[in-house]
């Protein structure tokens, strides 16, 4: 009898809690709700020590806290959640702890894929973000299986950073970008084999890898600096600091006539635009183009074969290429980053993606994080919302 009444009492309390939470979320939803929240789940071990638990139990408590937070966030309307589960630097920990964490990960991945789990409840797509080659085969297989099994889900997204650091992500993105571009260049060179690429007929087809019209393209792609003209060549400066390896008295010569008139007009227009921006100026004789300031060498300009001309190589990769190959390209940038346990540092987490994200560091350890912390996060986000939107538009 007592048990029944206490059970119905707790059920009643639970219903009241749910009702209150739904009402609270409805009130919060009157303002902006973050689309993407990132969590650095710090403090599991300290929690275990504080509660006199075995060290591994702190991580289990952390997992429960994660599920609870995911429920709240998705209920509130957050679509993307990223969690920092395991850094590449964490491999330096004791092997027993690392093994425990890997085993826990496999166990919990399995749990998430079962019927009735949070994954199915919220139509969650799972991504495992990081250098998965560093993981053991068992963990990597489980992660790949989970990603494949949830690939059709599209209501919410959970990104789990495992064997991840921002440094590794950027290095990987640069390698992939370079590889892609090199393959493109090789394919292009192969297909253009035998084509005439000289200026004998006045043509301004692509010369030395650069089209004249690419000067304008370069301007669109955040190029600063000078338009450098060499003898018989039209080059585009894609960098902000360059050094001319060959020039006479600090002055770069104008291209000689003989080009196709239309293309020459394009070049003239580009130069006019550069002149008006103030990045180049006419020399005293009105004929030559003079650089504004000495340029630093980045190895992007080299002498032509005749020793007089300057030829510049179009940049192989740019910002768009790097961003395309980031592991985190599958999600928008986080709107807010939360690190539990009061530490205020990023620890190599989403450095590229969090340039404008507010950082929030509640003092509570990760297993202690709850509903009220989320409410504080959302209120903080709503206070900064207009500023964030302005910064996003500018960038």
């Amino acid at each position: 009898m007592g048990n029944e009444s206490s059970w119905s009492g707790s059920q009643c309390l639970s219903t009241l809690n749910n009702f209150f939470r739904k009402y609270l979320f409805r009130v919060l939803s009157c303002g902006a709700i973050p689309t993407h929240i990132a969590f650095i789940m710090d403090g599991n071990r300290r929690f275990a020590k504080k509660q006199n638990m075995v060290e591994g139990e702190g991580h289990r408590a952390g997992y429960k806290s994660l599920i609870s937070m995911l429920n709240y966030c998705y209920e509130l309307g957050v679509k993307y959640i990223t969690v920092y589960a395991f850094s590449i630097e964490n491999f330096k920990r004791k092997p027993e702890e690392v093994q425990y964490l890997m085993d826990l990960m496999v166990e919990k991945i399995d749990e998430l894929l079962r019927e009735g789990s949070i994954v199915n409840q919220y139509g969650m797509r799972l991504y495992f973000i990081g250098n998965l080659k560093l993981l053991s085969e068992e963990v990597r297989t489980a992660a790949e299986k989970a990603m494949k099994a949830t690939a059709h889900n599209n209501r919410t997204v959970l990104l789990i950073c495992v064997a991840y650091t921002s440094y590794d992500e950027i290095v990987h993105a640069v390698q992939e970008s370079c590889e892609e571009k090199m393959n493109n260049i090789q394919a292009e060179n192969t297909s253009k084999a035998g084509r005439n690429s000289t200026e004998q007929n006045g043509s301004c087809e692509k010369m030395n890898g650069v089209h004249p019209h690419e000067i304008q393209d370069c301007h669109k792609r955040e190029v600063h600096g000078t338009v450098i003209l060499g003898k018989n060549e039209i080059c585009c400066n894609g960098f902000s600091k360059l050094e001319a390896s060959e020039k006479k008295n600090g002055v770069i010569k104008r291209a000689v006539p003989g080009f196709n008139g239309e293309k020459w007009n394009e070049v003239q227009q580009s130069m006019q635009s550069q002149l008006s921006k103030g990045t180049i100026e006419s020399g005293e004789d009105g004929e030559t183009i003079q650089e504004i300031k000495p340029l630093l060498s980045k190895g992007t300009i080299e002498s032509g074969e005749d020793g007089e001309t300057i030829q510049e190589i179009k940049p192989l990769i740019n910002l768009v290429d790097i961003e395309k190959h980031m592991y985190m390209a599958v999600a928008p940038d986080p709107d807010i980053v939360i690190r539990s346990s009061g530490e205020t540092r990023l620890s190599n987490f989403l450095l590229w993606q969090t340039g404008y994200s507010p950082l929030y560091s509640p003092a509570a350890l990760w297993p202690e994080i709850g509903l009220w912390h989320l409410v504080g996060v959302v209120l903080h986000y709503q206070r900064n919302y207009s500023y964030l939107q302005k910064k996003r538009k500018q960038s």
Partner: protein, 297 residues
């Protein structure tokens, strides 16, 4: 550290909201930080007034490095401190900078980086930008002698080609004149952004790969770090970042280099950030446990 952390869950919702709102500098946040200037005339007046104001008590004194303040440990001083000088009239505190540099050099800090102007700031009103450029030029010129006296070496990072010619020249001359100083390196970030820095490093590396000087597999974290603009310093990565005016974000500043930096956010605006506040930041830094991902057992 100032209580910019979330209060415990037991507090009522309305007191939570009230506490959060207290952190915002009054009046400066209505339209965001950078839109708090109503007119250029008001901006100019505020710069002039702050510049001519007498030093506050506890202000940095030139040539008065003295001993280490009480409570600080010399062996735990950060080697590189970075500051985002947020708040109105940031550069108007010109008398503070060389003296501050001299003091912190005496305490064991080797590098001080200041975020003077972001590449995103170019979208500000033209007159405001021109005012700032003029201010930078004036500050560097008038304080050069003090920087020399304090043994400060000046380095500029950022897309300097976008700066006015005269300011570029001032920086080049200042770098040349102070290049042999060794007490403290002052890195001034002007027209700088963290992404720009990483992208320019990656472009250089990509070029070397294309030329065959590097293999794809050779691209590494160390290689990228060497190509960043902060490679002009012996300690390119800050140990401590201080940001004033209560903003809790990095604003695209030194994204790569701040991976493991301790972040210290202060509600005070930059003009109100002085010696006492800096010491508080250092005390907070020394109390933190830095693990770099591994465990300290």
């Amino acid at each position: 550290m100032h209580s910019l952390r979330v209060p415990s869950p037991s507090e009522h919702l309305h007191s939570l909201a009230r506490r959060l709102s207290v952190h915002a500098p009054p009046g400066a946040r209505a339209r965001g930080l950078y839109s708090s200037f109503v007119s250029t005339a008001r901006l100019g007046r505020s710069f002039a007034a702050a510049a001519e104001a007498a030093p506050r008590e506890g202000e940095w004194e030139l040539g008065g490095a003295g001993g280490l303040p009480a409570g600080l440990r010399r062996d735990a001083m950060p080697r590189h401190v970075a500051v985002i000088m947020d708040g109105n009239a940031r550069w108007a505190r010109r008398r503070g900078l060389p003296a501050a540099a001299g003091h912190v050099a005496g305490w064991g800090v080797g590098v001080l980086t200041v975020f003077a102007f972001s590449s995103e700031n170019w979208v500000r009103p033209k007159t405001e930008v021109q005012l700032l450029m003029g201010l930078f030029e004036r500050v560097i010129k008038t304080e050069l002698e003090n920087f020399m006296r304090e043994g400060v070496k000046i380095c500029l990072i950022g897309d300097s080609l976008k700066l006015p010619k005269s300011l570029q020249k001032v920086f080049v001359d200042a770098e040349e004149m102070t290049k042999n100083n060794s007490r403290l390196q002052l890195i001034v970030a002007v027209s700088y952004s963290g992404k720009y820095d990483i992208v320019q490093a990656c472009k250089t590396i990509a070029h070397k790969v294309k030329d065959g000087h590097l293999e794809l597999e050779d691209i590494s974290e160390g290689l990228i770090e060497r190509e960043l603009e902060t490679s002009c310093s012996e300690y390119p990565c800050p140990d401590l970042l201080i940001r004033t005016s209560g903003e809790l974000r990095l604003s695209n500043f030194m994204l790569w280099q701040l991976a493991y930096a301790e972040l210290f956010f202060v509600p005070a605006l930059w003009p109100d950030f002085g010696k006492a506040e800096f010491i508080e930041a250092l005390l907070s830094y020394q109390q933190r446990q830095r693990r770099y991902g591994s465990r300290i057992s």
